[in-house]
């Protein structure tokens, strides 16, 4: 019993609402401050929900992070999180920063092409970035230039592919 293939259903693209921006006072002050401190670099300051988003060029990441940590008015001593998001054509590396003294927060974003993802390592700025970068290399194949030891952390030697990426088969099942 072979069923005839169904014609692809025509569907209206659903309207996707955007999350509203709700920056508090601290956030607005910070976005002005960041524009001021990072004026030598080509940065784009925006906002997502309640965080200041700073989009930077991948090659500037290391220098900007250094400034962000050492500048007394920014004072991002604490790297909350380092994550990689796969947007098919590009991989976006996110640095979530937080200042324990001033209690303001920001996200640094750098987009790199999926074919050749290279970002300078920030391990010299925050030592805590070490394993986060290794994880990013493991799961997404982002090469963090300058990282002393980019060996597999979560996966084992000889694992094929980058399982975090969208192109990796989702429910890949093989009998073990």
């Amino acid at each position: 019993m072979e069923q005839p293939p169904r014609p692809p259903r025509q569907r209206r693209e659903p309207e996707v609402p955007e999350a509203p921006v709700a920056l508090d006072e601290r956030g607005t002050a910070l976005s002005a401050l960041i524009r001021d401190v990072l004026k030598e670099f080509e940065v784009e300051v925006g906002a997502a929900v309640d965080e200041v988003v700073v989009t930077v060029k991948p090659e500037d990441v290391s220098a900007i992070c250094r400034i962000a940590k050492d500048d007394p008015s920014l004072d991002f001593k604490y790297l909350r999180c380092l994550s990689v998001v796969d947007y098919i054509e590009t991989l976006e590396v996110n640095y979530h920063l937080f200042s324990l003294d001033k209690r303001h927060k920001a996200v640094l974003k750098a987009s790199v092409p999926t074919e050749e993802p290279h970002v300078p390592s920030v391990i010299s700025v925050w030592r805590g970035a070490d394993w986060f970068e290794r994880e990013g290399h493991d799961l997404f194949g982002v090469v963090f230039d300058g990282h002393p030891n980019l060996t597999p952390l979560l996966l084992y030697e000889g694992f094929e592919g980058f399982p975090g990426r969208k192109s990796f088969p989702f429910h890949e099942y093989d009998e073990w």
């Binding site: 659903p14 996707v16 609402p17 955007e18 999350a19 509203p20 709700a22 997502a48 929900v49 309640d50 965080e51 001593k77 604490y78 790297l79 909350r80 999180c81 994550s83 998001v85 796969d86 996110n94 979530h96 937080f98 324990l100 209690r103 927060k105 996200v107 925050w126 030592r127 805590g128 970035a129 070490d130 394993w131 986060f132 799961l139 597999p152 952390l153 979560l154 996966l155 084992y156 399982p163 975090g164 990796f168 989702f170 429910h171």
Partner: protein, 373 residues
């Protein structure tokens, strides 16, 4: 120091010892390779990933309501705290108002879970330093808390109780009397546990001044939670970036001095008392009302991204949620506190004895489920 230098110049080689993945005190399947010179550690190299289950990837294929099950199993000692972090992230994205009663229930359960988690730490830490009884006292308290959890959520560990927009269902009628009994028992139990171990001479000898880390280094390594507070930094997400309804409670934040193993241990013991305080206040303030906001069964948060920090028993538990407007998260990154805390291990293990390695590892209280995810 000089003696050590001389010893190093002698013609010896360091002995490599592999601890783990199966070792009674690696707290799961953690592996650390240490090189020792006699009984002193020269170098240590942690290896993780023996419990990497691909949760983050699996989350991308689940509905928002289903993701909670996977979050339960991340930090499997503090399940409710993980659930809360995820639900807060989704709610923030959807700009949802959570009913008051639901928030109170969440806080009460999360603080109970914090006590349960610290009780596990207390017991296992006793085992690490070689005392075999504390673990049984710790688990006695845990068992009591789990009994209450069971009556509320229906499960001992994997609750799946905190949902987007509220909680699954209202508390049962017998909750308040049970809670009153439990609070009394816990108060007594915590004091008993404290008496049993904290000021024991041998315990002090084993943990005081061992594995110290200063505030600057701790922040640099991304150490958070009790381990950071033990180094003398007053940083608690519940205070510095209050989430849910934590700003309504009056509670203390214990802070250590030296950042050694004993401080890390005692900060946790003290935190249990403070959690009890929060629970008492919450019980007094809670009023009847709805327990869930009006959310569609299949939640579709708007497009956007959000990062939420919560204070889990192990530290700053962050959830980075990227949504593309569909019913499944586009990307979910979990910032696990144990993962970051564990990075400091190499630093902590410098110049320690082999026996101290176990004590230091125990004091940062890792849960492999969230380290490897």
């Amino acid at each position: 120091m000089q003696v050590q230098q001389q010893a190093r110049t002698a013609d010896t080689i360091d002995l490599m010892i592999n601890m783990g993945p199966q070792h009674p005190s690696t707290h799961g399947v953690f592996r650390v390779v240490i090189w020792v010179d006699g009984e002193r550690i020269v170098k240590a190299e942690p290896h993780i990933g023996y419990l990497h289950r691909g949760s983050e990837k699996l989350c991308e294929g689940e509905l928002y309501s289903q993701v909670i099950t996977l979050f339960d199993r991340l930090d499997y000692v503090a399940n409710l705290n993980c659930e809360l972090a995820f639900c807060l992230a989704v709610e923030k994205l959807m700009a949802l108002e959570v009913p008051d009663r639901a928030s109170y229930i969440r806080v009460i359960l999360c603080e109970l879970n914090r006590i349960a988690s610290h009780m596990l730490f207390y017991g296992v830490y006793g085992l690490d330093v070689g005392a075999m009884t504390p673990i049984l006292y710790g688990f006695r308290e845990r068992e009591r808390i789990q009994g209450l959890f069971e009556s509320v959520t229906g499960a001992r560990m994997m609750h799946n109780f905190i949902r987007v927009g509220g909680v699954k269902e209202d508390l049962r009628d017998d909750f308040e009397p049970r809670m009153a009994v439990l609070l009394e028992e816990l108060k007594q139990g915590i004091e008993e546990c404290d008496d049993l171990l904290s000021q024991n001479e041998m315990f002090l000898a084993r943990t005081k001044g061992i594995g110290t880390i200063g505030p600057t280094e701790a922040i640099d390594f991304g150490v958070t939670g009790p381990s950071l507070r033990a180094s003398g930094v007053l940083e608690d997400v519940r205070i510095s970036e209050p989430y849910s309804i934590y700003e309504r409670f009056d509670f203390g934040v214990p802070v250590g001095t030296y950042g050694d193993c004993w401080d890390r241990y005692y900060v946790r013991v003290e935190e249990m008392r403070q959690s009890l305080k929060i629970i008492e206040q919450a019980m007094a303030q809670m009023e009847p009302g709805p327990v869930a906001a009006n959310v569609r069964r299949i939640a579709r948060p708007p497009k956007g991204e959000v990062y939420v920090r919560t204070e889990s028993p192990r530290g700053d538990f962050g959830v980075f949620l990227v949504s593309d407007g569909s019913d499944k998260p586009y990307r979910l990154k979990v910032r696990a506190p144990s993962f970051a805390n564990l990075q400091a291990l190499q630093y902590l293990l410098r110049d320690a004895y082999v026996a101290d390695a176990v004590v230091i590892l125990g004091s940062i209280d890792i849960i492999l489920g969230e380290v490897d995810r």
